[in-house]
């Protein structure tokens, strides 16, 4: 696929800002919407809309087929079983659900430990802190080194007989480095500890297979892979999901409801109370097909590699620029670059870049502990998608240099 071909699938890329072409480099926050995904949303909303499971009428059947078909598509994509795929409203909801349900399952006891990587997004920290507060658990922080690499020897040292769960992102939303999940899983499992992987940033860049990774839980958001907001996925090993307590109570998550006591449905429906996102979930299917295509497309992959090589080289030549997440080999990083510049505030840079048409993220990026780790109040982040061109990367670095000159 050429860049022109892929760009034509994302109408918003044609927008201009302040009379300049939009250069959208905030893909880690959310990607552009894929036309086919929005079309699917429209199609099911306008032609097969009905509530799921509950009725025998034709439209309810069609809607249920779309929804359960999407579950099958996600399961196939991840190498999992349909019963292992829970739909949520996003990564954040997936992790909160898991934290709550694990806490109520009896799998975690007072004094048990959870290990969380220092580079985690707030979404993968705060639900665990809340759980720890409720259940009297201890949180241990898995450090990253100066280059942002997760310290696996520290992990080995930290694991104890009380450690029940380890939480890491496959790709950090700040560092862009790929954590060796498979290796982490084997270290954790050897110590009898479960592994929960935050895949929010990884799914767009890596072909994910949960059996291959051997993780116990995996969470991601649809809006970061070209589909619609308000849809997320929690994968869990079926044998584990079966042991988890319900999160929210309501319609569809039950088996029988009696005043004398209610019993609950099997996973995944146990965790899907109430009316689900019946339009958004089917819209994930075309996005997954597209994702699969982009991750196997030589031309697009080569383009991404060129952008990565260009930026790794170019950024580090800018005087005073400190890049966070420096890979030993480029293959260990996705095309996501966070940095700070001595004597220049990230907010100023983002504001000026905005006026040049470049959309980048600035601030703490929902990872305050990592900001503290590197002793900064915030960073600037440029994150790329397959529809970004090398010319855009060049325009970005040229604009960045101009902005720095203005500010220094």
């Amino acid at each position: 696929m050429t860049i022109e071909q892929i760009r034509s699938k994302f109408p918003q890329l044609q927008e201009t800002v302040y009379g300049k072409p939009l250069v959208y480099l905030d893909n880690a926050a959310t990607t552009m919407r894929l036309d086919a995904s929005v079309a699917k949303w429209n199609e099911v909303s306008l032609h097969t809309n009905a509530n799921l499971h509950r009725a025998v009428h034709r439209m309810a059947n069609l809607a249920t087929e779309e929804y359960e078909g999407a579950r099958k598509a996600v399961a196939d994509y991840l190498g999992a079983d349909s019963r292992e795929i829970v739909f949520t409203s996003g990564t954040t909801a997936s992790l909160n659900l898991l934290a709550f349900s694990l806490g109520e399952s009896g799998l975690l006891k007072e004094g048990d430990e959870i290990i969380i990587a220092e580079s985690e997004h707030h979404s993968d920290i705060v639900p665990w802190q809340l759980l720890a507060g409720r259940k009297g658990l201890n949180i241990k922080v898995l450090p990253v080194d100066e280059n942002g690499k997760t310290d696996l020897s520290a992990l080995k040292r930290m694991l104890s007989s009380r450690t029940r769960l380890c939480c890491v992102a496959q790709v950090s939303n700040v560092l862009g480095l790929v954590n060796p999940v498979k290796e982490i899983a084997s270290i954790c499992h050897a110590a009898g500890c479960l592994l929960c992987v935050d895949g929010a940033q990884a799914v767009a860049h890596l072909r994910v297979d949960v059996r291959e990774l051997d993780c116990d839980f995996y969470a991601f958001s649809a809006h970061k892979i070209y589909a619609t907001p308000g849809v997320g996925v929690l994968y869990g090993r079926f044998s584990l999901l079966q042991q988890l307590a319900p999160w929210q109570g309501g319609g569809e998550m039950i088996e029988t409801v009696k005043w004398g006591g209610t019993t609950f449905a099997q996973p995944p429906h146990r965790f899907e109370a109430g009316t689900q996102n019946i339009s958004g979930v089917p819209a994930l299917v075309p996005a997954l097909e597209f994702l699969k295509e982009t991750l196997a497309d030589k031309e697009l992959l080569e383009n991404q590699e060129n952008i990565k090589a260009f930026l790794l080289d170019e950024l580090q030549q800018i005087p005073g620029l400190r890049l966070y997440g420096v890979p030993e080999d480029p293959s260990e990083k996705v095309s996501l670059f966070s940095f700070s510049i001595d004597g220049v505030h990230h907010e100023d840079l983002a504001l000026i870049l905005d006026k040049m048409g470049v959309a980048v993220r600035s601030g703490q990026m929902c990872a305050e502990p990592l900001m503290d780790r590197f002793g900064v109040t915030g960073m600037l982040r440029a994150s790329f998608a397959p529809y970004n061109s090398l010319q855009e990367a060049q325009y970005f670095t040229d604009s960045l240099k101009k902005a720095i000159t203005m500010l220094k």
């Binding site: 302040y18 220049v344 505030h345 907010e347 100023d348 983002a350 504001l351 000026i352 905005d354 006026k355 040049m356 601030g363 109040t377 203005m406 500010l407």
Partner: protein, 137 residues
Amino acid sequence: MSDLEQAKRAVVEEFAMFDEWLDKYEYLIELGKQLEEFPVEHKTDDRLIKGCQSRVWLDTTVRDGKLYFKADSDAIITKGIISLLIGVYNGRSAAEIAADDFSFVDAIGLRENLSPTRAGGLASMIATIRREAEANV
């Protein structure tokens, strides 16, 4: 026209000279750089303006019923904005500041040209200056 009105009009006219927002930023950056030095020991939490993305400190002194401001920020455009505000309101009476509507900020298009978070910060700066004035009327 009062002296305060003249000062505000001068800022509006100055801003109108630049067509491009990049040039307006350049001007704000210059203003930020010219801001009088702010003593490090004054960078305390009680002088910090809440609601800004970047850190902004405002120090107010009152002499003969008039307010004198000093400020700093770790972001230079924010510093330029606060410098602009100080430039207009410095040395004026508490009563005059408290009675002002700060609408010249809208006239120069500052609010809509800042990101929502920055505009929130601007609102906090204005609110702090007004509060200081009201407390000293």
